[in-house]
């Protein structure tokens, strides 16, 4: 019996040893070394093209299948449920009154009982469909990308499609996921280790140079850990020292995407646990701005630290996401004015994800961080485009809010996103009462205005 097992044991060990070696060599050659030097073999792009062809085929198959069986193909939620009339408050009230009474009314005069129609209808319209609540749920797709999580039509359509989906599942969870997790650990581990080592060096040019190289290398490994295929446009506008880089926020991955192409000083709150360890070691190598929890509330302190950092031209540009929360990448919401108040040059950056390969939006009320990362790592790929816009500064006579809105409009235009006035904080809080009072004032002005006319005549 023992003789029976021994040769197999040896064989097993040898096989395992060989496969590990092969695995690591491949990893090193194809992923880590290019990451260090910043070159790419182009494998990821080829992968992307192949995937697209498969997705198109899958979608056609579903559509054909649905037609054959006369099923109702549940098309994705398009932009509106209802058609809203763009008439203003005044016009509508005139219309209502004209149809009600026989008097000849040229203007909106005294109060009538029927005025309430307008508000009732508008109110119900808002409940049916409003611009803001839509933005906080993930965007719907037209073609199916073989992930059940993004498909509502997943019925058993054909054997071939199910087999393909099953194969996709095996590849994603069996091959891609372990690979990516290994890479992620390698990347993060290297970052912590190397930055701590560099932290021991005396301050000077050597330290800055090394720190730059190390940061870039580790972020590039992380990028490959997510299989992120990024296209950078207009790199001549990349942020320079002493400036602030602002970008629209869709997920925590945004940081990795931007930081793998340039060096930034990060701003944020110190966390505990693994994040805290990473943060503390990063700050040894180059000056990032981390705040204690208690300091975050103090706006003046925050503003002072930021402006101190900018004054020093040897320090890296600051990276800030002014929306304050993750939006689902179809629109840009209100920018908080804090970072625009400091008086530095602003370098806007627009990030747009291609949702066909994987949905990068982090719905923090639905998923926790670990869950989110697992989802990211088990998608096909993350494809996105980054546009560096030319720098902007605050003009004379412009206050911080106007400047913020100008930057926001530029980012929205470049990235093909919708520019909204609403505050991203609405994801968690309620709207202030001031908006209701605005409408009340408008209506009252209408009534009072005409009464004044009457009393004069």
């Amino acid at each position: 019996m023992e003789l029976f097992f021994n040769p197999f044991d040896n064989l097993l060990c040898i096989l395992l040893g060989i496969s590990f070696t092969v695995w690591f060599t491949l990893l090193l050659v194809f992923i880590i070394v290019p990451a260090i030097f910043g070159v790419s073999f182009g494998i990821r792009r080829l992968y992307m093209k192949t995937l697209l062809k498969i997705f198109e085929w899958a979608t056609l198959r579903i559509e054909r299948g649905a037609k054959e069986k006369n099923h109702h193909l549940y098309k994705p939620y398009s932009n509106a449920i209802i058609a809203k009339d763009p008439t203003s408050l005044e016009e509508e009230i005139k219309e209502i009154r004209r149809s009600g009474s026989n008097k000849d009314l040229d203007s909106v005069s005294e109060f009538e009982m029927s005025d309430i129609f307008y508000f009732a209808r508008r109110g119900v319209e808002s409940i049916m469909d409003d611009e803001v609540t839509k933005r906080f749920s993930a965007e719907e797709l037209e073609s199916w990308n073989l992930l059940t999580r993004s498909n509502n039509n997943f019925h058993y359509i054909s054997l071939r499609l199910t087999v393909l989906w099953g194969l996709g599942l095996v590849i994603r969870y069996g091959i891609l996921l372990p690979l990516r997790v290994t890479l992620a650990f390698t990347g993060v581990g290297l970052l912590v280790f190397l930055t701590s080592v560099i932290g021991r060096l005396p301050n000077g040019r050597m330290k800055n140079l090394l720190s730059e190289k190390v940061h870039l290398m580790c972020y590039r490994i992380c990028v490959r850990a997510l299989t992120a295929i990024i296209t950078y446009h207009d790199s001549e506008n990349k942020p320079k020292n002493g400036g602030i880089c602002v970008a629209n926020h869709t997920s925590p991955i945004d940081v990795i995407i931007l930081a793998s192409d340039g060096c930034y000083a990060m701003v944020g709150q110190i966390h505990g646990g693994l994040m805290g360890v990473i943060q503390r070691s990063m700050v040894k190598a180059c000056p990032h701005i981390w705040f204690e929890r208690s300091e975050v509330k103090d706006r003046h302190l925050v503003a002072k630290r930021l402006s101190d950092h900018i004054q020093d031209k040897s320090k890296l540009p600051i990276l800030i996401f002014p929306e304050g929360t993750c939006i689902n990448n179809t629109s840009v919401m209100m920018f908080k004015k804090g970072s625009f108040d400091i008086g530095a040059t602003v370098y806007p950056v627009a990030i747009k994800y291609d949702p066909r390969f994987g949905d990068a939006f982090w719905n923090s009320s639905k998923f926790g961080m670990v869950n989110y990362l697992l989802r990211m790592m088990s998608s096909w790929a993350i494809v996105c485009s980054v546009w560096y816009l030319p720098p902007m500064s605050r003009e004379d006579g412009e206050d911080a809010v106007q400047f913020a809105n100008r930057v926001k409009a530029a980012i929205a235009r470049k990235g093909g996103l919708v520019d909204l006035l609403w505050d991203g904080g609405l994801k968690r809080e309620k709207v202030k009462d001031t908006f209701k009072e605005e409408q009340q004032k408008l209506y009252s002005k209408m009534l009072v205005g005409t009464q004044e006319d009457r009393s004069r005549s």
Binding site: K69, H72, Y74, K75, P76, S78, N79, A80, I81, I82, I96, S99, G100, S101, F111, E112, M113, I116, F117, Y118, F119, A120, R121, R122, G123, V124, E125, S126, I127, D130, E131, V132, T133, K134, E139, E140, E142, H155, Y156, K352, Y353, D354, P355, R356, G416, W422, L426, K430, K432, D433, F435, K436, E437, Q440, K441, Y443, S444, K445, L447, V448
Partner: protein
Amino acid sequence: MGAKQTRSEHDHQDLVEKTGFSVEQIQNLHKRFQQLSGNEETISREHLKSVPALANNPIRMQIIEAFFDKRNQHGNELGSYEEIGFEEFLTVMSHFRPPTLRTTTEEKETMRKEKIRFLFNMHDTDGDGKITLAEYRKVVEELLSKSGTIEQEAARAIADAAMLEVASTNVPNMGPDDFYEGITFEHFEQILKDLEMESRMHIRFLDVNTTKVHCGK
């Protein structure tokens, strides 16, 4: 799976008959319901209060209450719900459905009456079948600014004048000491009888096959 319908499609068929929406519109509204409720089975007042566009509306509390009002459910119950499900949500929405070419005159009359009933319920908050002066004043005050151009006194005066007009139209021989209890549903109907309601109080529901979403470049 063949020709077997999914469970939701089966329920929706019932709702088509009850509310008059098409299957596609119901599916769209169901999606909206789920968005508002955060994927739960019922909606509470808190969910509706958090719709930002509604915040613009001066009578938003009345509108939210209308969804929870039992009188708007085509039954004879009074009072209000704490939470509503999808069927109740649809029933309230169906008050705003426009008439189609196939709607007969009788059906139009019924729809019109339903719409007036909806507005009446919005004013008559205690459910006694009459809009009293106090109740009417409340609505007018909500419509006009509490802090702005029209003062509370002026708002009251407007409400009082409106009530007086209703009283004089409907009870022509009222003496100086008679007390006008409140606007009943019939009086309310009378005031609004010339108003062309069909186009004022409806919302055009789109069918699904409208604009396509373009993602990425």
